[in-house]
């Protein structure tokens, strides 16, 4: 019995063992497929945070296995720093997925502004997920200049720069980016990175005069001085400054404005651009366009080396700013009608919803300019102009003229699109003074399209030298064209202009004029001022350029203008790389005194510094340096804004005096500069 039982049990066990083994054999020969692990960025991409701050939303990924949420999977988060070092610090480098398949971290922006990515990799997944994030600076200023570069290989050539620089709340430069273009002469874009190291801005909070240093050496060590660009700045208020390059590598004038938006360039705009075309000749554009969802449509005029083509159809694409944290966007599809519709690549930096600084970034042509919003106005008629003042300046590589004046529109009416004007103006063309403020001596007609909002022209202009035809492009009547963040001032609007005659292609603005005190007492204020000047070819052939620029601060008191309030030294920076002041000696001069007494204004708000006294600049370069007397005329738009024009045989300029807001300056969050030293010697 026992033996039989034992045998049966053994057979059963053998059978079980056989069955088990064959089963195993069957299993190992047909393994199940591995699960497909996938990872996606669920939320948290596209955020922006100030440097040092955590992003508001978590960076969340979802991991699936064969399409089903996978729990317990390890996810590794890895920031990929941008070229300036911008990145974020994750709360953890790894996270494990929960039952719903999600894993998340927080991330804290590091100290460098800029866009970058954070990748997330799941164990077992072949692909990664990516987040695009951006670190922003608490305060960003957008700047642009254009002028004359001192090219070592090509001699003096037109150039333009546009960019944005970010600051912390203590006034330290955190970084930035810029586009620089001198049109086939060695320094075209791509974008240069402004690094925090080696960059700075110091400003005297009393005068508003300061120095901005931008280090772009990592991108291009050949611009500025070994990649260090120095600009003289003259703040008008805490959000606006005049600016000129101040390092001898180039000289130029422009604007430096607080940025109030970094995206959204939509709406209706008027614009002007000026520069050098693909053939090396000066050219300029003006027009109007609408930007709806990135589709740009409009009408524009071109003057290319004296050949004007008007009424061109503008069709282009605004590619937006993407992940850029400095409000840098691009426009494609803009073309040059005078060059077979050669495409022109444009980049813009957003100052605010209604102001764009624009630069042409092609390697063989270059331009700089601005676009200004038209606000909610949908139809611009003859009432755009009333009593206005204007200033027009030629491109520095063009024929060289400056003009300013007052115009008084007549026969205007709502719904009427054409009218006439009279007025008076001053005009200096290559040293030949063609008009000197003859009351009633300026006449002309103007009109706006009744179908293309704000697109117009001035025709039959007489009394302003060779200027007979201008393109006229209306802007938002509530927008300050020179100080876009300051909309409480008077003189808002009215239009941009483009010279359309065949002798030159200057650009300018027309702004409304307010009430003018007959004795000039309404100018008794502190002003920041500056000008872009053309002179008689410097110290050619040793220094063959012809431009100088200056910015500074001064005060009017009973028609007497002086720089500085406590006597010398004075806060004026004069950029003269072509030795127009000290023969044979180029220089970047600080603390240059300027003084003069103007005659009381005429009824048009025109002040003349001669014959009362000249507008005396100097001594330049020290007490023994020359003092140069200029014949300067002012046209007052109002106490807040005054145009200046120099009309000498050896020079001409167009500039502005802009009333300073002293309390605003004192509250500026910028590094305070040292008190002004004694008259500086040339830096070169």
């Amino acid at each position: 019995m026992n033996r039989n039982f034992t045998s049966i049990l053994a057979l059963i066990l053998v059978g079980l063992a056989f069955g088990f083994l064959t089963g195993c054999s069957s299993s190992s020969s047909m393994p199940p497929p591995p699960p497909t692990i996938a990872i996606t960025a669920t939320s948290g991409s596209g955020q922006k945070a100030n440097v040092g701050d955590a992003f508001t939303n978590m960076l969340v990924v979802t991991v699936t296995s064969n399409g089903t949420a996978a729990s317990g999977v390890t996810v590794t988060f890895t920031p990929a720093p941008g070229p300036a070092g911008q990145s974020c610090t994750p709360s953890a480098t790894t996270a494990t997925t929960a039952s719903d398949g999600t894993a998340s971290i927080t991330c804290t922006a590091n100290s460098t502004p800029g866009a970058y990515s954070v990748t997330a990799a799941a164990t077992g997944a072949t692909a990664t997920a990516s987040f695009t994030e951006g670190n922003t600076a608490p305060r960003v200023f957008v700047f642009y200049v254009n002028g004359l570069e001192n090219s070592a290989s090509e001699g003096p050539v037109y150039y333009g720069v546009a960019g944005a620089v970010g600051f912390d709340l203590s006034g330290n430069v955190l970084g930035g980016e810029q586009d620089y273009n001198d049109g086939q002469n060695g320094f075209p874009s791509p974008t240069y990175i402004i690094t925090a190291t080696g960059s700075s801005m110091t400003v005297n909070p009393t005068t508003g005069t300061g120095t901005l240093v931008l280090n772009v050496s990592a991108s291009n060590p050949n611009v500025g001085v070994k990649g260090i660009e120095t600009f003289a700045v003259q703040f008008i208020n805490a959000s606006h400054a005049l600016i000129t390059q101040f390092d001898g590598s180039a000289t130029s004038s422009g604007s430096f404005d607080l940025q109030t938006a970094t995206s959204g360039a939509g709406g209706n705009f008027a614009f002007t651009l000026s520069g050098i075309d693909i053939a090396g000749f000066p050219f300029a554009y003006g027009g109007v366009f609408s930007n709806t969802g990135g589709t740009i449509q409009g009408t524009y005029d071109e003057n290319d080396a004296g050949k004007a083509l008007v009424g061109n159809t503008l069709t282009a694409t605004d590619n937006g700013v993407g992940a850029d944290v400095y409000g840098r966007g691009s426009i494609t599809g803009f073309t040059d009608p005078n060059q077979g519709n050669e495409p022109i690549s444009l980049v813009y930096y957003i100052v605010g919803p209604e102001v764009l600084r624009i630069i042409d970034i092609d390697p063989d042509d270059t331009m700089a300019g601005s676009a200004y919003g038209q606000g909610s106005v949908t139809s611009f008629d003859s009432t755009v102009l009333s009593t206005d003042v204007f200033g027009i300046l030629d491109n520095t590589e063009d024929q060289l003229f400056a003009a300013a004046g007052q115009l008084v529109a007549a026969n205007t009416a709502a719904g009427t699109f054409s009218a006439t004007f009279t007025g008076e103006g001053d005009d200096d063309e290559v040293g030949t003074v063609m008009a000197t403020g003859t009351p009633g001596g300026l006449t002309g007609n103007y009109s706006f399209s009744n179908t293309v909002p704000g697109y117009g022209s001035m025709t039959g202009v007489t009394g302003l030298g060779s200027i007979h035809t201008l393109g006229l492009y209306a802007t938002d009547p509530k927008l300050n064209l020179l100080d876009p963040n300051n909309t409480t001032a008077a003189n808002l609007g009215a239009a941009l202009v483009l010279e359309l005659d065949d002798f030159a292609q200057g650009t300018g603005i027309v702004v409304p004029q307010g009430t003018i005190a007959s004795d000039g007492s309404d100018l008794n204020h502190s002003y920041g001022f500056g000008a872009q000047a053309f002179a008689d070819n410097g110290s050619f052939p040793v220094n063959p350029g012809w431009e100088f620029d200056f910015v500074g601060q001064g005060t009017f008191a009973s028609l007497v203008f002086t720089t500085g309030t406590g006597g010398p030294p004075t806060p004026v920076d004069l950029s003269d790389p072509y030795a127009s002041f000290v023969p044979g000696t180029p220089g970047e001069y600080t603390a240059v005194p300027i003084a003069g007494t103007a005659a009381a204004p005429d009824a048009a708000g025109r002040y003349a510094f001669r014959p009362a006294t000249p507008f005396a600049v100097g001594p330049v370069g020290g007490a023994q340096g020359p003092t140069v007397d200029f014949t300067v005329v002012l046209y007052e738009a109002g106490p807040g804004l005054v145009f200046s024009i120099d009309e000498d045989a050896e020079s001409q300029w167009l500039g502005t005096f802009q009333e300073e807001n002293a309390s605003s300056l004192k509250a500026m969050h910028v590094k305070r500069g040292p008190l002004f030293k004694s008259q500086a010697k040339p830096k070169r």
């Binding site: 090509e154 001699g155 050539v157 049109g183 086939q184 002469n185 050098i276 693909i278 053939a279 090396g280 000749f281 000066p282 080396a305 004296g306 050949k307 063989d364 590589e397 063009d398 024929q399 060289l400 003229f401 063309e429 290559v430 040293g431 030949t432 063609m434 030298g465 060779s466 005659d501 065949d502 002798f503 030159a504 008689d536 070819n537 050619f540 052939p541 063959p544 012809w546 045989a649």
Partner: protein, 151 residues
């Protein structure tokens, strides 16, 4: 289109006659400044001998470099512009040299000046301004040369 424009040379005799006629007709009494427009329809071609090369203007002259040229009708102030003697491919002439000038006569600051659009010297034509009087920069010269076009 601008680049394909050729500046045709004028026979010497025509230039001399034109210069003589110009000397008779274009010098007005109490001359007022012309505007800055370059009226190509008034263009003439003159021949003469260079007496001076002024790399910088003398007092009272318009900006840029100048040639003082002796023509059959007298001495001529020929304006070459800012770029006339500057950069690669610039005009190179010396006193005593025979040249042919194409341009227009203008009154600037009360003085007669011949605004030169092109100079023919040593068999080479140098373009200094375009048909609108816009000065040809060294960069424009260089780009035209690279593309094989004549300004």
């Amino acid at each position: 289109m601008r680049h394909s424009r050729f500046i045709s040379s004028t026979p010497l005799i025509a230039g001399l006659l034109t210069g003589l006629l110009l000397a008779i007709l274009v010098v007005p009494l109490n001359a007022e400044d012309s505007d800055s427009r370059y009226d190509v329809s008034k263009e003439v071609t003159l021949s003469g001998t260079v007496s001076s090369v002024l790399r910088k203007p003398a007092p009272g002259m318009i900006w840029g470099s100048h040639l003082i040229v002796e023509t059959v009708s007298g001495r001529l102030d020929a304006s070459l512009g800012r770029f006339g003697l500057e950069g690669k491919g610039a005009l190179s002439v010396t006193p005593g040299q025979q040249i042919e000038l194409t341009g227009i006569m203008k009154t600037v600051r009360g003085k007669e000046v011949f605004v030169v659009r092109s100079v023919k010297a040593n068999g080479i034509t140098y373009a200094l301004r375009n048909e609108h009087g816009i000065e040809v920069s060294p960069q424009a010269r260089e780009r035209a040369a690279e593309k094989g076009v004549t300004l």
